[in-house]
């Protein structure tokens, strides 16, 4: 094994700070909104049941408080979903893939291809309906170090998967 320890000029290294990230498919926002709506509907119906049956004998002000809380949550959940969607994006480079997400807690995670363990494409029932797929890239670093990119076209996901697989097998030769 040869040993090298050259000095490297960091400014010459390739970077991804100025590169343009690819946003997710617009229909993914629709999907997120639908699932948010489903959750909200569940909460609202639960609230309706509690209020109409009145098993807990809730005083009026509690009902008002609860309803306003649910209302705020409702608005907030849509606002958050829309906001967060615009921060979700990915970038594929020659040797690595990055996924950026988060509105309040922003994060960018980068996985070099030569550390990828395996890749998986997931499609739930809603995703199948909307022609979307989720690409999952696993590393040996545990759950929080894996990348999961939602809102891709299935063909896109497959292409990325094939690209990464070809890159990882290059490495091994």
């Amino acid at each position: 094994m040869e040993f090298s320890n050259d000095i490297i000029d960091v400014s010459l290294l390739p970077s991804n700070e100025n590169e343009v990230f690819t946003p997710l498919q617009k229909s993914y926002l629709k999907l997120r909104l639908i699932s948010t709506t489903i959750v909200n509907l569940l909460i609202i119906s639960a609230l309706c049941v509690v209020v109409s049956i009145d098993i807990f004998n809730l005083p009026n002000f509690v009902v008002i408080l609860l309803s306003s809380f649910v209302l705020i949550r409702l608005i907030w959940s849509y606002y958050k979903t829309i906001k967060a969607f615009h921060y979700k994006s990915y970038i594929l480079r020659e040797k690595d893939i990055s996924y950026s997400s988060g509105w309040i807690w922003r994060s960018i995670i980068t996985v070099p291809f030569n550390r990828v363990q395996h890749i998986q494409i997931d499609r739930g029932p809603l995703e199948r309906k909307m022609d979307l797929a989720r690409l999952k890239i696993f590393t040996a670093g545990g759950q929080s170090s894996d990348i999961s990119i939602p809102g891709l076209r299935p063909s896109e996901a497959l292409r990325i998967k094939k690209f990464i697989v070809s890159k990882t097998s290059d490495e091994e030769e």
Binding site: V10, D96, I104
Partner: protein
Amino acid sequence: MKKSDSIDLTQPTRQSYTAILIIMYRLYKLLIRQLFPIILIVLLQGKLASSPWFIYGIITIASLASLYSIVAFFKYYFFIKNQKLIVNKGVFKNSVLEIPFDRIQSINFEQNLIHRIFKVVKLNIDTAGSAGNEIQLYALDQNLANELSEIILRNKKKSTTDEGVMDETPDERKIIFRLSLPQLIKVGITENHIRSGGVIIFFFFYIYDSLKDLGINVIEKSEQYAPMAEQLAQSLTLMALFVIFFAIVAFVISLVRTILNHYDLKMYRKANGFVVVSGLLNKKERAAKDDKVQIIKSSQNLLQRLSGIHELVIKQASSAIVSDVKSIKVVGLSGMDVSDTYRYVLKSSFKGLAQLNMKKVEFYYLFKKLYYSSLLFLPLILISGYNHRIDLLIYAFALYIIALIGSRLAYRKKRYGIGTSLVKIEGGVFGFNNQIVENYKIQSLKIKASFFQRRRGLCTLIIYTASGSMKIPDINEASALKAKKFLLYKIESSRKAWM
């Protein structure tokens, strides 16, 4: 290789007969642990214990358990076939496990008291795969165990024909470090006694809870003694005595635990890895290959700092990252020993360690800590002051001061260095610790920033490895991006196997 030819591992082989004893022992232990509350209630309510039914019950359970152990023993056999270790087992349902040698990550030997009396060893065979996929051979004759592990390791080498450095004879054992008895006692004295205190408290709560589950309320029972207890509580000297007694018990427990775990600790080189053997009653042997080592963490608590000894944790790549099973802990090392170990594990990267330029994190790290401890303690102080609870006020104030000092110390000690070959992160509050990972062993990198961090142009860099993650908190965004860029370059241009 020459070895006694009497051992033929291609034929189905059973474990040593001692295994019956060990299976039985494990089963009894499990039963007792499960039935502990019932046993306790029976013993407490004297009448039941003397009834013949109780004794019959015990005899039935015991004989069933023994029968089970014997059947389990005879149903358990293993052999080698086509580069695979095949294990047959199961009492009610037969199961066959096939493990290709390549998948075997490590083979560890273990000996507890029973093993030592009968001169057998326990073999833990770890595989790469989900947790629970490992094989335990409870008792094997020493020769058989050696033979088995050698066959597996030898054939493993053949299939992975990578580095040519593997030529060292496997028996070449070079002692790097040996823990002497005085040093061991020093380790015991400087242990974290607060943790032992926690164990005691936990134990009392456990007993209390089990009793309560059974309808015996300790508080109610003790109320008969309440007047006396009140008197006791009032007498401060007794209170102080109790504290001292508690401290002594905690101290003794951690001392005993240290001696049991680390007695006669030896760390030596074996081929391209480390072997650590230790233990008084339970002798454990753990092995780590240099390539498998991901993070090396050395630490000192306050007492250890004063006596100049270090603790080293060598974290290996494993499927079950969260569990501590795969990390090897060595205690009582001097600064020299630590640096020797670094030299072995890091090899060519070792030189980079001295050249690291350690940088501080941003002031926000301290600010955040001060802010949160104030948020916690100031209301407490105000409330207790408002209610004229001077005693609470003093406690809260003292804790607040400690938290402030701790924050300051944590900020001063938090440093990070990113070199051409490795990353080092230092930290600690009253003690000191540092973690080292070689650049090419990094799995992925994450930059994370909260709303508050972004407002100040800061972020946190998280470095993921195959044995856990390391965090560099609150550094400015430009330097985080620079570091990430550099590390990515290092990973992507590396062709070395990270494991």
